[in-house]
């Protein structure tokens, strides 16, 4: 019962998230690259995606955190780390290079792959391989 509810709600949330990505323009690699590259007729519109998402989330986050616990779990699972280390900065740096090159980050890539574009599917297969490689190299 709870597991069904959990999966059902997560599925709805995922669909909403995907719809948001599609509406916002994040699933258009040319647009993303045009946003990240200010030297060739800069398209700043994608800054509004982050503004809208972070603005709404900031308000709702505070309201939700006042609750003792989420609906389907005994506690909130929030990252507790505060330290700045090399993996964080190196990883973010590497991610940025891939994002600027391919014009896709993980969420939009999955939506693009599901829509059936060859480049989206190739990107996601490579992304999963990259994730797997990272897991294998750090656990050793």
């Amino acid at each position: 019962m709870t597991r069904t509810t959990s999966a059902l709600l997560a599925g709805v949330v995922g669909a909403l998230f995907g719809a948001g990505l599609l509406i916002s323009g994040m699933t258009q690699p040319a647009k993303v690259v045009g946003f990240l590259d200010p030297t060739h007729g800069w398209d700043p519109s994608l800054a509004f995606v982050m503004a809208g998402a972070a603005g709404v989330y900031a308000i709702l986050f505070r309201a939700i955190r006042k609750r003792g616990r989420p609906w389907l779990d005994v506690k909130f699972h929030l990252p507790a780390r505060r330290d700045l280390d090399m993996p964080l900065i190196l990883g973010a740096g590497i991610f940025g290079v891939g994002w600027g090159l391919g014009g896709l980050c993980p969420g939009p890539a999955i939506v693009a792959a599901a829509s059936g574009t060859i480049s989206g599917i190739a990107f996601v297969v490579a992304m999963l391989a990259g994730m797997y490689a990272q897991h294998r190299t750090t656990r050793a």
């Binding site: 999966a7 709805v12 949330v13 995922g14 669909a15 909403l16 998230f17 995907g18 719809a19 599609l22 916002s24 323009g25 699933t27 690699p29 040319a30 690259v33 990240l36 590259d37 030297t39 994608l46 509004f48 995606v49 982050m50 809208g52 998402a53 972070a54 989330y57 709702l60 986050f61 939700i64 609750r67 609906w71 389907l72 990252p79 505060r82 900065i89 190196l90 990883g91 973010a92 590497i94 991610f95 940025g96 891939g98 994002w99 600027g100 090159l101 391919g102 993980p106 969420g107 999955i110 939506v111 599901a114 829509s115 480049s119 190739a122 990107f123 990259g130 994730m131 990272q134 897991h135």
Partner: protein, 137 residues
């Protein structure tokens, strides 16, 4: 041009609502690289909601391919470069503990220092790469 940024803002707001809803229901941060990446790890226990979330997100792509195919653009790069980009995004997001959603949307809203540093870093390297490689190759 005006409608572009209105759509960007509206789409962004929807992403914010969805992310907040995941916090309300599951108590989880809506970080896509974390949700997807942990499914590739054998020690992940709670797979159900993660799989459902990814399936839900993918279903948006399937629906878009039918009702609004122009919402998904093809790549601006050749296939080998797309594969290189995917590898870097996969490896980098897991090493850096997050991507545009987890560090960007959720982390910055919580004023998390690690996320702020991560966003500044990937925006900088992303801008540098996009500028050096150019808009179309």
């Amino acid at each position: 041009m005006q409608s572009t940024w209105i759509l960007a803002l509206a789409g962004g707001a929807l992403i914010g609502v969805a992310s907040a809803f995941l916090l309300l229901t599951h108590g989880r941060i809506a970080g896509i690289s974390g949700i997807v990446g942990s499914l590739l790890q054998s020690n992940t226990r709670d797979r159900g909601w993660r799989i459902a979330f990814v399936v839900g997100m993918a279903s948006a792509g399937v629906v878009a391919s039918i009702v609004a195919p122009s919402a998904v653009g093809t790549s601006v790069r050749t296939l080998p470069l797309v594969i290189v980009a995917g590898l870097l995004v996969g490896y980098g997001t897991r090493l850096g503990s997050g991507c545009t959603s987890g560090h960007g949307v959720c982390g910055m809203s919580r004023l998390a220092v690690r996320s702020l540093i991560a966003v500044i870093t990937f925006m900088a390297t992303g801008a540098l790469t996009a500028t050096l490689v150019g808009g179309a190759a």
